[in-house]
Amino acid sequence: MSEQHSDPTTAAPDRRATTGTDPDTAADEPVVDLADVTFGYTATPVVEGVSLTVDPGEYLAIVGPNGSGKSTLMQLMVGLLEPDAGTARLFGEPAGEFDDGERVGYVAQHANAAKEMPITVREVVTMGRFPHVGFGRLSSEDRATVDDALATVGMSAFADRRITELSGGQRQRTFIARALASEADLLVLDEPTVGVDAESVGAFYDLLATLSAEGITILLVEHDLGAVVERADRVVCLNREVYFDGPTDEFVDSGALARAFGTEARILAGADG
């Protein structure tokens, strides 16, 4: 497939990331660039013919019913999976060969992390520095960055707590801090609020909004439509193929939701799920 961005609905937001951490990347290069990507674990494709670009500083939410390929699409974007057809580029490089790992911060459903492991919040956040230090030792600068990240997410007071003692919301803030400590330009979150209590969810999204305002690109895979519609700039509605891609306010009226989810669409279902 040639260079083809079948994405006329999207007017990429003008807001440019000015984090300025990486002078070696062209300024206007899309963070994520998928061109006609198809992928299947078996012969049946889970994601089919998806083209989409994410520009620096965007706050993009990917929604869709269970099994719609949201998480798969996200893994294709960060190069954890290789597309069967089409191309996936991350910061202008083929995603699978992308080796500038500290630019991407990944936050999974907290269930993924080793639960019973004795490890403190600070140790987890320090992992964000590992791509920078390689086999070396952490410098005092690295430690300062970790402290800053902890402060940003409001977890400084919990720095020496064992992570197993934390609530779901605190845990997710810890993982965000890890991404911040790595000075990531792109934050990828895969259903980050699963298993997090309702109050913490609000605070969590406020944190994401703050980070977005600071220019970090945010890619959010979500099943909670209410949260998405209130916060994200742009929505991609996925069910194997892209059903909708555009500004959030148009999404609600577009009817894409009903088509993607089938008949039982519940717009702004809010806190349930």
């Binding site: 960060v78 190069g79 954890l80 992308f98 080796d99 500038d100 790992g101 500290e102 991407v104 990944y106 936050v107 999974a108 993924n112 992390a113 080793a114 019973e116 492991m117 004795p118 490890i119 403190t120 140790e123 987890v124 992992m127 964000g128 590992f130 791509p131 230090v133 086999f135 020496d160 707590r161 064992r162 993982f175 890890r178 790595s182 990828v188």
Partner: protein, 361 residues
Amino acid sequence: MSAGVGPALVASGLAAVDPSVVLPLQVGPGAIGDLVFGALLWLLEQWYWLMDWVYYVTGLEMLNPDYRYMHRAVLVGLCVGVMAPLIGTFLVHRQLALIGDALAHTAFAGVAVGLFLNAVIDLGVSPYLTAVVVAMVAALFIELISEVTDAYNDVSMAIVLSTGFALGTTLISLNAGGLAVGVDQFLFGNLSTVSPRSAAILLVLFAVIVGTVAVTRNQLLYVTFDETAAAVSGIPVNWYNRVMVMLTAMVVVGAMQIMGVILVAAMLVVPVAGATQVSRSFSESLVVSVVLAELAVLLGIAVAYYGGVTAGGVIVLVAVGIYVGAVVLGKVQSARGEQEPPGVESIGAGDTDGAPGTEGD
């Protein structure tokens, strides 16, 4: 080791007393191998000297200079007490506690291969060397299976385990026609059969393992804690998994000498499980697991010596006793921690060392 140059008289005198240490030079082919082996034997001499000194100070009968094998057993035990929990910590927190068992059984096949080759073509290699090779090949095999199938599969692990043991027993029985081979020392471990040569092999394994973990500690931790995030951040996860299982194979063979095939996996798991109960941070859990393992090894060797029982079994029993103590301590800790959060810090390290000690006595 004893940094002291020591009374040269004593050291050289010992070398003369113990001619067996000069004999087995087949470890590595060529001059470099001989050189390394010579250096390790020199280290061993220093160790004997240190142990003699401890004997004269403490009067511990098991360290009597006439029992050089006990000195070697203690050395091997101390090394195992460091490297087994070191690697075990990374395994346990990835739910890979049983991989040690699988590799131990394939290492037994490796021992059988070594004995077989020695009997048939008179190769003269140490069975422990062939065990290292076979166990590492098996480790890679398990890892590759898991990469292809996307998960560590307990079924494939069980298959590798039984294949290893089946191969071992078959080769041994084939061999037994030629000469009666004692496999008990490999199955159950034996303090008195730790030869200078196998102690030297262990020192090499120890250096490789501790060195590798020291260099790649960050990456191993990241992969252990959150494999996906580690992959996203650019760490070649598969390579570190391969390194990890190969190191496991080395630990298993190293510990096999005193623990035996059947019990060796316990050293990878039990001290780590105990440390997990009482530690808050990862660094702390590493240190605590090593401390617990050393306690178990030293107490176990002592009880085995004075009680005339098999060391491997006693070491594991002591380790399990310590584990139970740690569980109780952990419960007390968290109960107290809930009442007064800021005070927990001070309970941590101090009590950890004390409580298992009383438990073991």
